[in-house]
Symmetry: C2
Subunit: 260 residues, 2 copies
């Protein structure tokens, strides 16, 4: 397909690379950040522009890969009647694009994407569209770049998926960051934890995380928990999180009896 990408950040960069690698033709990249847009244009052997008014009107699909907050500003100046136009935001309804085109949709990559990443990771794509043409176009594009999962997901499902993604990615990364800072302050080498981090993430491919739970909290090992809390007196932020998550782990058996 002939594609125009609007945005030059992490999602734009990695999706663009995936489109390119799949043999699509990126007609143009439009970005406010001129240096970022022209660097990507160079990488993809295409042209860049800083102005939405200069948008190439000959593409088959337009992908708006900008931050949630930037979407309203961009669509204010964008009219692409008859074209398939999709944004990439999990938590933004597709209707935000209804003044841009009659074929609007969403193309949400459920993955942590960073411009600097070396390889191209597996990216499940959740697409949505106002009509069949939009849906089939985005679905086809998704299949061309994702060898894992391509699923239709409406606004509500995407918002819920985003919550789950925040939990397993943003919050998990924050625990890594807290542990790294703790190690730094205590003179320990955080990198010694990397094999454990990798194994923990990898083990849930084979077994439910509920069954994989180990450690002092699930064992109700009060003595070890108390030793840990005593040592965390100098780390109030971490101590707070240690207490809450320990308590939450010990609550888990209640799940089976939940009303919902």
């Amino acid at each position: 397909m002939d594609i125009v990408i609007i945005g030059s950040g992490n999602v734009a960069a990695v999706l663009g690379r995936k489109f390119n690698a799949a043999g699509h033709h990126i007609l143009q990249i439009i970005g406010r950040n001129a240096a970022a847009a022209s660097a990507l244009a160079y990488e993809w052997n295409t042209v860049s522009s800083n102005y939405l008014s200069a948008v190439n009107r000959n593409a088959g699909v337009y992908i708006i890969a900008v931050s949630d907050e930037a979407i309203p500003e961009i669509i204010k100046d964008l009219k692409l009647p008859g074209k398939v136009v999709a944004h990439t935001a999990a938590s933004v309804p597709k209707e935000v694009l209804k003044k841009v085109t009659n074929h609007y949709g969403v193309f949400y990559p459920l993955q942590s994407l960073r411009k600097e990443m070396k390889g191209l990771p597996d990216v499940p794509i959740f697409f949505d569209g106002i009509d069949e043409l939009t849906k089939r176009t985005l679905e086809k594009l998704a299949h061309s770049i994702s060898n894992v999962k391509v699923v239709e997901a409406g606004d509500d499902a995407r918002l819920k998926l985003h919550i789950a993604a925040v939990i397993v990615s943003n919050f998990t990364n924050h625990l890594y960051a807290l542990a790294e800072e703790y190690c730094r302050q205590e003179g320990l080498d955080f990198r010694q934890l990397l094999p454990l981090i990798e194994e923990t993430a990898s083990s849930i491919k084979d077994m439910s995380p509920k069954l994989a739970q180990t450690g002092p909290a699930i064992r109700h090992d009060k003595e070890t928990i108390q030793k840990h809390l005593d040592l965390l007196n100098n780390h109030p932020q971490l101590k707070n999180i240690y207490l809450l998550l320990t308590e939450s782990i010990q609550q888990v058996p209640d799940w089976s009896g939940r009303s919902k």
Copy 2:
């Protein structure tokens, strides 16, 4: 080396397999759980016993791989003067073994070990010993099974490492479990999050998790956070954790100004 393993749980099983794979000879395995001990003995082509009184006294090293709580009970009946004896517990001081032998120490594998795991993961080993003979023996044993890290670590350092391990492994796994349960209740497929989980764990090999932080919390994206909180009203345990971790992520910049 000739090794006797006391314990037949996850740590005993995986360390034993690593010893075996490294060409050591497991003389005997002793475990309260007769079925588990004899299954491992069969796997390693050795003998098992349920009685500490039957301990083979000809080994070079004795590894006590049992739960923290079980250690006092086991050592009560164990006398191995002149032998190198180590337990595998992070949060238990080495002195707990001083009535067993004059060469006591610790052999702590910093990894999530499960009997059912298919491969043998990388395992950093933290060792400690009361004297040079103990330290050198355990260090040599550690190097024979670990191609990642072998580090001497006293009681205090091990306890601190254990705290970091609880954060990056037990707590992280709990977030996976909460997300899995949330997906189940909302009719979403948790397995669609696996590529994201893997990428999040893997990305910190190349960059500090502090720099890798993304998501609504770090962007102070109040609108998205509010949408998520509204949807979490039916999930009070998760909502509580969402609030605390969002707040904690937003606190992070204070680290640079901390007194310690």
